[in-house]
Amino acid sequence: MSSIAFKPFTGLRRSSAVPCPNPTATLTKPVVKFHVSAAKRSPKLSNRNLRVAIIGGGPAGGSAAETLAKGGIETFLIERKLDNCKPCGGAIPLCMVGEFDLPLDIIDRRVTKMKMISPSNIAVDIGQTLKPHEYIGMVRREVLDAHLRDRAKENGANVINGLFLKMDMPKSWDEPYVLHYTEYDGKVGATGSKSTLEVDAVIGADGANSRVAKAINAGDYEYAIAFQERIKIPDDKMVYYENLAEMYVGDDVSPDFYGWVFPKCDHVAVGTGTVTHKSDIKKFQLATRNRAKDKILGGKIIRVEAHPIPEHPRPRRLSGRVALVGDAAGYVTKCSGEGIYFAAKSGRMCAEAIIEGSQNGKKMVDEGDLRKYLEKWDKTYWPTYKVLDVLQKVFYRSNPAREAFVEMCADEYVQKMTFDSYLYKTVAPGNPLDDLKLAVNTIGSLVRANALRKEMERLNV
């Protein structure tokens, strides 16, 4: 055993004489062998811990920083705006509260009822199958992000208020990445000072317009524009939205997504999104407001915001010792557009892979260690993403498909399956007989809705 442990060690100190049993004639071969195996077996870092920088301090960055700091890695979290109110739906599944130990006071509202509204205004209530302790949490991003960052700081991460500019790639496996950033040092409105930071690995958690992704040529993705208006409505109207969220589907509201009314702490967020018709987003927003008109009458718009949402992962999520997580990697589901949980989870998973590959910060990591995070991620969540993709393709295609979708939502089995999958992030298998009945009902709904649409077209002519 000792001889095996000896080999990589001598690889580091190639110059020193090795009491090798082989004759010197074969010295060249062993030297080459040592060199290769040393890199493969990530040599020990002498007198320092592994340094990792995380660009972006949202849910992905915050959870990655906390995990890394707890694992004994020297962590730097670079965030450009510590009080950023990221435009976001703000919905988190129940499992996130448990998995990330979120205190219950950062959840503004617990949504236990949802209303799905079809293009012809057929409204279906869902949520009757929820147990009393189950809910969808609505949070304010500025509160959640700050909480996760503070926790990371408590565990030993260095939180830096700065804007990442660019990064110099290392020329060999043991050279560091040099990050160039503008440090703001907590001053508001100041231009900041240029600084550099040398780290061994980088996690890009800087969102949909990731600069880290650009730096590693990760490639582009298609994205949706989500447009949202925060509207303060009168108190009597707010009672209706106490723990209810609404989803509007229809060609008027969005050709490939849905419009929503989500309750926030003391106001509602009314918004919509689209991938294919981004220039018509204002029209879609007006249509959404029109559909909810009676319920938000008398309201005052207090904020208008928009943000891109990735539709699928980037072609390259990893390069060298740089990995992307969260929105920067493109981990937003189709159909529901959910990203907060997946961002936080991917940040944590990537951090765990780094900790494992570096043995708690004692050894240098390499691309293979980071790839393990990608493997684990794809294996765990691929079914979820695929199922939601299929749902989007089938049910967001056209108005008849959306009518069928809303009709299907009235079914209790559908509601139970949907909420179980959403709240606990597992594709629940369910009863095969019920699944068959569901399939038959789905086909029936789709056929009926399409038949009605054909009649509608005939009416036009």
Binding site: V36, P315, L318
Partner: protein, 251 residues
């Protein structure tokens, strides 16, 4: 009501500014829709951006197409002067039908000689959906829509939609089948009964039947190709990062 009055003055400027809205009676119709849209942002006065966004929509809004259920509204407006519209535009855009009660179709009103005329129910629902597609309406808690198409029995759907198409497809299949049987017989001398025993002929039959079922219009060929590509596209996007692994061989 005061809300509608508040939005009264600005719309008149739009009316005078836009030359397209000439003196047809349908022009009054299209004006009413923009007014409806304007009333929404007026209720949210604090944001200039919101109002200007709606202005853009007013300019872009299309003229309504002819629709039989729209005639009611046309009659109402044609009698009045274009600018004096305030009490009417609120009522106008809602879908109304004497048989639509409480957010669903009142089946008793569809009875003909004791039994329900399902075709008329389907017709009524089609018109309602067409109306709402062209004039999206606000949902309301006091007046929810609870109609479910599954209350119409399956045989009514079959009779109306499935049977005519089934007749068409069966006819096509029969014509193709007869012609192919004749052709094969003339080429190979194998009669109809013997053809059924041959594996190759059975395969041809399968291809013919599935072809008739799947390809009903010329566009279907492209649609099927697109569908097949669609089913694997998302998977390819996820696998992209792994293609990279084989090229950039680590260490």
């Amino acid at each position: 009501m005061s809300l509608s009055m508040a939005s009264f003055s600005p719309p008149s400027t739009y009316f005078s500014v836009n030359p397209n809205f000439a003196h047809k009676s349908t022009a009054f119709l299209s004006l009413k829709r923009p007014f409806l849209l304007l009333s929404t942002p007026k209720s949210l006065p604090d944001n200039g951006a919101g109002v200007s966004a709606s202005v853009a929509v007013v300019e872009d809004s299309k003229l309504n197409q002819e629709d039989p259920t729209l005639e009611k509204a046309v009659e109402r407006s044609s009698g009045s002067n274009g600018l004096a519209l305030s009490p009417e535009f609120e009522v106008f855009s809602k879908f109304e039908d004497p048989r639509w009660i409480g957010g669903t179709w009142d089946l008793k009103q569809f009875e003909q000689k004791g039994s329900i005329d399902w075709d008329a129910v389907i017709d009524a629902e089609v018109r309602r959906r067409k109306w709402l597609q062209d004039n999206p309406e606000t949902t309301s808690n006091d007046d929810p829509v609870v109609f479910d198409t599954s209350i119409i029995p399956w045989w009514a759907w079959m009779k109306r939609f499935h049977l005519p198409e089934a007749e068409l497809l069966n006819g096509r299949a029969a014509m193709i089948g007869f012609f192919m049987a004749y052709l094969v017989d003339s080429l190979t001398g194998v009669g109809v009964v013997d053809q059924m025993g041959n594996f190759f002929c059975k395969t041809l039959l399968f291809v013919a039947v599935s072809g008739v079922l799947l390809i009903r219009k010329n566009e279907d060929l492209d649609n099927i190709k697109k569908l097949i590509e669609e089913t694997t596209f998302y998977d390819k996007q996820w696998q992209a990062t792994w293609q990279d692994d084989t090229t950039s061989n680590n260490n």
